[in-house]
Symmetry: C2
Subunit: 377 residues, 2 copies
């Protein structure tokens, strides 16, 4: 049977995530993966989960297993509202921050619309924009058909870069000039290892910013919970859209997240996570210095999960990938994050997921693969 | 600020769920709600949940809290595949069966496309089709621009009706004639209280059917888990789409569902649930017989959660709603399920959610409101 004729006109624009495709084919435990944006398993509060479930069920009873409000359970919305200093009415819980991106795409984008975003761009966002047949253009361009600016101001995925206050103010100025919205994707903001926090774009322009938060890096990604903070007239349409998407976010998970956050356990766990990730970042940077050949440079991120490597022009990280994988090391080629597929001499390295003991052999192997390419060009 | 200009062209087609709107404004515990499709809280395995969480975490460790595969965790897919006699490759786990409907809409529908469905139609499905600007037309019509047929063959929501084998074969014949897909929405199939199971449409036409299942009525809706069984080439695009939607379904919840299902606890719980619901169905029918004035008729469903009431032509259930609510009874006006808003003399009554003790006063009140309308016309 030929199924091609049944698909919508959007389907040819669906992109597969190269990261998810890597994970589909490879047993992660058998290799050294610098590829995904997976948090360290050691940061998950495994021991606390059954107790959390028990506490939540004795507190809320069957309500924790029933359908919940589309906006999210009030207890979780209130804790987030308090934490970030906004009214509860400006908080929508999402079933993952990826859903936050997708619901913004769905509510704002039509085919041919423009999203303004500076390369390199987070893959999950690119996938979502493209799936609605929107075009992604650089933030500087002169356009009247843009719908919103998409940015990850803190510890960007993939570049690791953090925007200065001036750069954020510039984003706001452009958004106001063009009269477009801003989608501020902020899954890593709480993971700062050095330097001082900078104001969020939402704080600079609350009237036009949808701020996306995530529990994946501060609690556990298996819960698939995130949130959107934004102006009520925008959240109202997102709320109606979310009725179609999945009626409501997972309810027991939300109560568990609320309990974990409200009791202070989240902040205690976060402190340990930050210490662990700071150490891993510095470890990876040290290993890159030790093993990488001359001509390779990398970012030194103040937080988040990623380093961005730039290799000599002659090294093609897409072409090099199979060799690296065959030697047991995975990464994501940088060009996947470029809307035009350029920058084939770059790569994204994640330092949060790999066990510490695997990091040195992993970077050593990766460096030898790079070195090989330099010799063989 | 005027936010209207930012929205996509789809947004004016977004429908609010009247059911969800009722629940947004009303404290369910303060009224007698026959409105939603909520399962009885008494059927939730509350006591078993913390133990399930503990078991799953000791079995799978941090894997249960990490990102999971987009298709769903293998353990859950395998159990579903075994239960329904299909290969694992034909099972996609969804974050709720509502997501199943939405992802089918997204992957197959373009603006102006036709979905074939017989009135009355499940609201969540109508919302999703309309949100993609598809039109819903009756299954009989002669058309070449239909994309799929949408049906709930078992214990239909809202009508309570179950299709005979001949009716299912007729659906398949039409689908093959028109060369369209079939979306078989099947959240209630396991809840049969009388009569004999009829073959699923998927069993009759596996090559063109997407069969949507749900954990909401056999485990607990707070988990937001469902599944799609269908041909691999269709699931492949649904898989890519799901990467955009939320990367993967909730992982801990999936493992808990797998454990609950795999251990036999689900079937034990289901047996009790069926006995409870059978009793409630019969209780409600008895109460309707006792209290409803002449000229009111209802369906006697073989399963599921709903009865469908037809009142004398002069009674407008939309107009009557505020009076009923002010007296503490909620229902859903039947016309909301009609694509043309007709059948204003019908209503859907749910018998699974309301505490048993509330059922008699609830039906008595509802009957008096109906009687009032008959007198006052």
């Amino acid at each position: 049977m030929d199924y091609g004729k049944y698909f919508s006109a959007d389907v040819p624009s669906f992109l597969r995530s190269p990261v998810r495709e890597i994970f589909r084919k490879v047993d992660l435990s058998a290799i050294c993966s610098f590829a995904g944006g997976y948090p360290a398993a050691s940061t998950f509060p495994v021991e606390q989960i059954p107790g959390l479930a028990e506490k939540v069920l004795s507190k809320y009873g069957t309500k924790a297993l029933q359908y919940g409000a589309t906006q999210g359970v009030p207890e979780l919305r209130e804790i987030i509202a308090r934490r970030y200093g906004v009214p509860v009415s400006q908080v929508q819980i999402t079933t993952s921050s990826q859903q936050g991106i997708d619901v913004c795409s769905r509510v704002f984008l039509d085919p041919g619309d423009i999203v303004l975003a500076n390369n390199p761009v987070y893959l999950g966002a690119l996938q979502s924009f493209k799936a609605y047949r929107a075009e992604v253009e650089p933030i500087g361009i002169d356009t009247t058909s843009a719908k919103f600016i998409y940015v990850i101001p803190d510890f960007n995925n993939p570049s690791g870069k953090t925007m200065t206050l001036e750069e954020r103010e510039e984003i706001v100025r452009i958004a106001r000039d063009l009269d477009v919205l801003i989608v501020e994707d902020s899954p890593y903001r709480e993971l700062r290892y050095s330097g001082e926090p900078v104001k969020t774009i939402r704080e600079l322009a609350p009237e036009r910013t949808l701020h996306l938060g995530s529990f994946s890096k501060i609690f556990a990604p298996g819960f698939r919970l995130g949130w959107i903070i934004g102006p009520e007239p925008l959240l109202e349409q997102i709320y109606v859209c979310k009725q179609c998407l999945d009626l409501c976010p997972p309810v027991l998970d939300q109560y568990m997240a609320a309990e974990f956050m409200g009791s202070g356990a989240l902040d205690a766990n976060l402190e340990k996570t930050i210490a662990e990730y700071r150490h891993r970042r510095d470890l990876m940077v040290g290993l890159l210095e030790k093993y990488m050949p001359e001509g390779v440079s990398w970012t030194y991120p103040e937080g988040g999960l990623f380093l961005w490597l730039t290799l000599p022009e002659s090294v093609d990280t897409v072409a090099m990938y199979d060799e690296a994988l065959s030697k047991g090391v995975a990464y994501v080629a940088g060009s996947f994050f470029y809307t035009d597929g350029s920058h084939r001499n770059t790569m994204r390295l994640n330092f949060s997921f790999v066990e510490e003991a695997k990091m040195e052999p992993g970077i050593k192997t990766l460096a030898s693969v790079v070195r090989n390419r330099l010799v063989n060009r």
